[in-house]
Symmetry: C2
Subunit: 272 residues, 2 copies
């Protein structure tokens, strides 16, 4: 038996809820040496037994999100039999909802993703973001919910993709001092425009890294400090001219910047 | 007071964990007319009070994921004072982890996204998927973890984007009977290739919809049944020639197909 902690995650479907909760909890404990083992689509007692026996060989905890009552009871019983700590994530919440709604849950696994209007809207938003990435086609700007602007390496693409998963149609356009700002950008309503910026140190670091990845020498103008300051200065002037809000992405995760953007633009986002 | 159910979701950070759990639970109750109100970055008693008072005006339940003990206690107390049902999602899990690790949680909000290697790898994977979408640049194929093939409307783009959020580098290439399969595809290791297909009825439906969205008449060849059968037949032959697994995406959510792809390719995915 090794000395590490093992976290077993069991789900009767894709396992996204269980992973989210497990990660949120684990992040509250520092410096732990743990191994995560994830099992999706667990739907019968045999599969449960196999996993619990595996868990019993280590210092393990089993976290699970299953909705079928029989299966849930099986997991609890088998963990007790094999002396494995286990935690049921969903049952307490289902219980609360049950009394709130005055109704019983259907207890049917895999109802997480319905192929409904909301779903198809999301797929369309993702395709939109890919199509109108990097100023590829400016005709898309007038259909966008949000237009992101920024010089190279200000997270335009990952932000667009992340927001598209929230059913938001995002286009992004790069700013380059040598290329005039397209007239289409001036036609975008102010409340849809977001200017992105970054710290010069961060940009220098990321661009050197990027050149290295491309097998190029780091003394190319792209990563040059003066060049970066020139670009940032240029972007600032464009943002002033457009009168759009500016977000500095330095030291922010994509998820955090995206959340700020949704806040600023006042987009009422449906629950994902 | 209207007659609908109100679900208030409170989080001290981005609220993704709370949303996931709430959605998983709500999907187990059918035909409920409910309103979801989401509050992120709730970090002080004043904010809590305002929300709980708002909740008390409706038939409400408060779900929350907060890690600071004071704040958690404030929510519970205020909900009790205002007669609002509330449910603490995270505390029971933190308690379990506490005994498992024999340690106390740091109780610091917003530690969900660390700007670590894993994070930058994910951003790189997203950029990769955008860059090598739709066969735009076949030089990317040799760096991909997965290469998706398929005729038009087989979910290539949304699948690539979804998988990229799981740190997987995905390229996708369209199959068109009139265009010869690129030699680069034959150089991709078999275990990285996935063929996508769809039912002819579904393709017909989606393509008519797409033409309509583009303002075109639905009798264009693109949506024609014979044309679709011809394309499907062609794709089948290519997949046989390549010897790659084939997934039918009809009636499957992106998340489900993605999960099958990860299973087939045996990619060991880090916990997201």
């Amino acid at each position: 038996m090794d000395n590490r902690y093992y976290i077993f995650i069991l789900s009767d479907s894709l396992g996204e809820t269980a992973s989210h909760v497990a990660r949120a909890a684990m992040n509250q404990f520092l410096n732990k040496d743990y191994v995560v083992k994830k099992y999706n689509y667990v739907r019968d007692a045999d599969a449960v037994e196999e996993i619990v026996i595996e868990a019993s060989k280590h210092k393990s905890m089993v976290l699970f999100t299953t909705v079928m009552e029989d299966l849930t009871n099986t997991i609890v019983t088998m963990c007790a039999t094999h002396n494995v700590i286990c935690h049921d994530i969903l049952s307490p919440v289902l219980g609360q909802f049950s009394s709130f709604f005055g109704d019983t849950p259907v207890r049917k696994p895999g109802t997480m993703y319905k192929l409904d209007d909301d779903y198809f809207e999301r797929v369309a938003a993702i395709e939109f973001a890919v199509k109108y990435d990097d100023g590829k086609d400016l005709r898309g700007l007038k259909y966008a919910d949000i237009v992101l602007l920024g010089i190279s390496r200000t997270s335009k693409t990952p932000l667009s993709m992340y927001l598209s998963h929230k059913n938001v149609k995002v286009a992004n356009v790069p700013l380059v001092p040598e290329i005039q700002v397209a007239k289409e950008i001036f036609q975008v309503p102010k409340n849809k425009l977001i200017g992105l910026t970054n710290s010069p140190e961060k940009l220098n670091e990321i661009r050197i890294e990027r050149l290295r990845a491309l097998g190029l020498s780091s003394d190319v103008e792209y990563a040059n400090f003066d060049r970066i300051l020139h670009e940032l200065d240029y972007a600032e002037k464009v943002y002033k001219q457009l009168g759009c809000p500016v977000i500095n992405v330095a030291n922010k995760a994509i998820e955090e910047t995206a959340s700020i953007i949704l806040e600023i633009t006042g987009l009422n986002i449906k629950l994902k």
